[in-house]
């Protein structure tokens, strides 16, 4: 802290003498925090170790050593869970602060090696037979249980991803954008169902006051999934009147998320609602303009985008003020 500045503030009378002394003390004993450095290293360590083990399995899957590897992985997983169980705090419906970051990442490592272990078992010995639903269902349930038991957001997100795998779709936003194969009805409906399910989970977490802080993670995945699948549904049925049903649903959802964002004062979800709704309205307007089959439709749609974007800017600025006032 800048002592000169606070001296001036003190002379101006903005701060009391006692506070000035405190500032002087605080600036003398500033600590240097290695928090983020250690956290990044932990993350890297877990990532490297788990991918190293993954490749190890992959390469040795048909050699005699595979039972040894299986044992090693089971031992790592078991060791991690043992450490976590020993150090964990008792379960509570509220937020539990984890003992330290090392605990968090060891738990993560345990889960990852557990997943590898189950995958390996299924692949080599087909423990679950040809019932593949079961092979993904069990890890998913385990992940959700661990996430709630140890209060770990990262594992909750992994659980959500696994839920999606179990339902037959992949859910992280990156993969959503990369392999966007929305050309099948089932995929769209599964996405939509999953998205709404997650939104419901977010709502229920708050309603029952059960791990309230998990709301954000549920809501984040839910909002993206539902909006994207509604838009995809609209384009899938573009030629039939059925498509407008998706738009109506989208606006209804947008209204709900908007109210919710206002209630929780969340700028992030507010921005998402505005952007997704803007995309929806723009597709409708452009469709209308091009339906006129006029030469002017291109110019008109350009003008629409300029004007509407300016409008949305003012809307965002106003909403920003409004949400702060709530």
């Amino acid at each position: 802290m800048n002592i000169e500045l606070f001296k001036k503030l003190f002379e101006e009378g903005s701060i009391s003498e006692e506070s000035f002394e405190k500032v002087k003390n605080a600036s003398r004993t500033t600590l240097f925090s290695l928090h983020w450095e250690v956290k990044t290293l932990l993350y890297l360590g877990v990532m490297l170790l788990s991918s190293g083990l993954g490749i190890l399995i992959y390469k040795n899957i048909d050699t005699i050593g595979h039972q040894v590897i299986l044992l090693i992985i089971a031992a790592i997983s078991g060791g991690c869970f043992f450490y976590c169980l020993k150090n964990k705090k008792p379960f509570s419906k509220e937020l539990i602060k984890s003992p330290n970051s090392f605990f968090d990442y060891i738990l993560l490592l345990g889960c990852l090696s557990f997943l590898s272990f189950v995958g390996y078992l299924q692949f080599q010995y087909t423990v679950f037979g040809t019932n593949y639903g079961m092979a993904t269902f069990i890890p998913m349930v385990a992940l959700f249980y661990i996430a709630y038991e140890f209060d770990h957001l990262g594992i909750l997100a992994m659980g959500i991803t696994n839920l999606a795998i179990w339902m037959g779709v992949s859910v992280t936003p990156k993969q959503l954008l990369l392999n966007a194969d929305f050309n099948s009805q089932t995929v769209i409906y599964t996405y939509l169902f999953l998205g709404l399910l997650l939104l419901l989970a977010a709502y229920l977490s708050v309603y029952f006051n059960f791990k309230k802080h998990f709301r954000f993670t549920y809501q984040h995945f839910g909002v993206h999934l539902s909006f994207i699948s509604l838009l995809a549904g609209y384009f899938f049925y573009y030629d039939s009147a059925f498509s407008f049903l998706f738009m109506v649903a989208l606006f209804a959802l947008a209204f709900y998320i908007y109210k919710d964002a206002m209630k929780h004062q969340s700028f992030y979800f507010l921005l998402l609602v505005v952007i997704y709704t803007y995309i929806a309205i723009s597709t409708l307007v452009v469709r209308g303009l091009f339906a006129m089959k006029d030469d002017a439709s291109i110019t008109l749609s350009f003008m629409y985008f300029i004007a509407s974007a300016i409008g949305i800017i003012f809307l965002l600025i106003n909403l920003n003020k409004k949400i702060k006032a709530v």
Partner: protein, 392 residues
Amino acid sequence: MIIYNNIWLANLLIREEAQKARKAEAISINEQKEIEDKHPVGFYSPNIFIRIGLFILTCIIVSFSIGLLMLMVSDTNVIDKWGFSFFVGILTYIALELMVRKSNHFKSGVDDALMWISGGLVLTAFIILQADVSNNFPYSRISFFLCLLALFYAVRFTDMLMTAIGLLALIATIFFVWKDLFSWGMATMPFLMMIVCSGIYFLSKRSIGKKASLYYTSCLYVVQIVSLLVLYLAGNYYVVQSLSPASEGIYNSAEPAPVPFGFFFWAWTILIPFIYLGLGIKNKDVIILRTGLILVAAAAFTFRNYYHLMPIEGALSIVGIILLGICYMVMKYLKTPKHGFTYEDLEDGNFMDKLKVESLIVSETFSGTQPQGENTRFGGGDFGGGGASGNF
């Protein structure tokens, strides 16, 4: 030169200090409030989400406006002339100046977007102009122009990214000029780059905290990071070998020529990251410490590129275990703060925490690790060679 209201900028710094003092529980909320009342800031700078939204929308507005303009003049054949992009670039710049001066936008997303678009358009105009003038592509002139342009924006709008681009363009200019100036230009390049970068680093290090550079503190941090990184890369064995004149022509061959003074460059490659780390810990300098951490990884990759001591999976697992071990020891050691170091997170409730970025990164990177996932539902895949059990 700086476009913003200097008093407001100064008040902003005072407010930040007050915020820090408040977090350290040195001053009370009422005192913080009084300080803020006495030091008004009239900038419009919304939070990061609104900033992103405004950025996207401004990009939409500008690109459709340009499109509309192109539609209007599409018959006259001026679109591919340099004058057109220059004209549009200047128009965008004027809009930027107006937004900042009249509406007091300060890192609001609107000014960011206008800045990047206008800079990009003016640069495009210059490149078209240069391509018209001569046939060989004049790298040195373009990088020099880019350097001047980016530095102008950096100085006028105190922008961090523009600073980084300006500095990189400056280094590129020196590189191209030196390369063409002497026949032995490439041979001495690593040493020239080392001198230049260390010079820039020490210069920026000394200017922090001076009165003249008060509003450019964050820009100077960027200068430090970039110069430290380039300083390392200048002597990195792989970089030197790829650029050395001896391997020209046989660049793509399997056996690149060894570099003269190879020992020196190897020592540089391996030791510099650790020297950075040591300096960072000794001087409690976050920038050099974090740069060192990144460069340790770069050193490891360089080493592995030449010497394969063990298969990749073994290396990954062992490095992973070592990293976890180091972290465990550091956390144990710093359970109570020692020598002015602590493990505790001093900045509670920062942006990363609010968005739960950590959990999202975890799900983003680890969600692909369950091999059974895709194979089970969608069938087909020929996972893992010989072990396939016939069910797939």
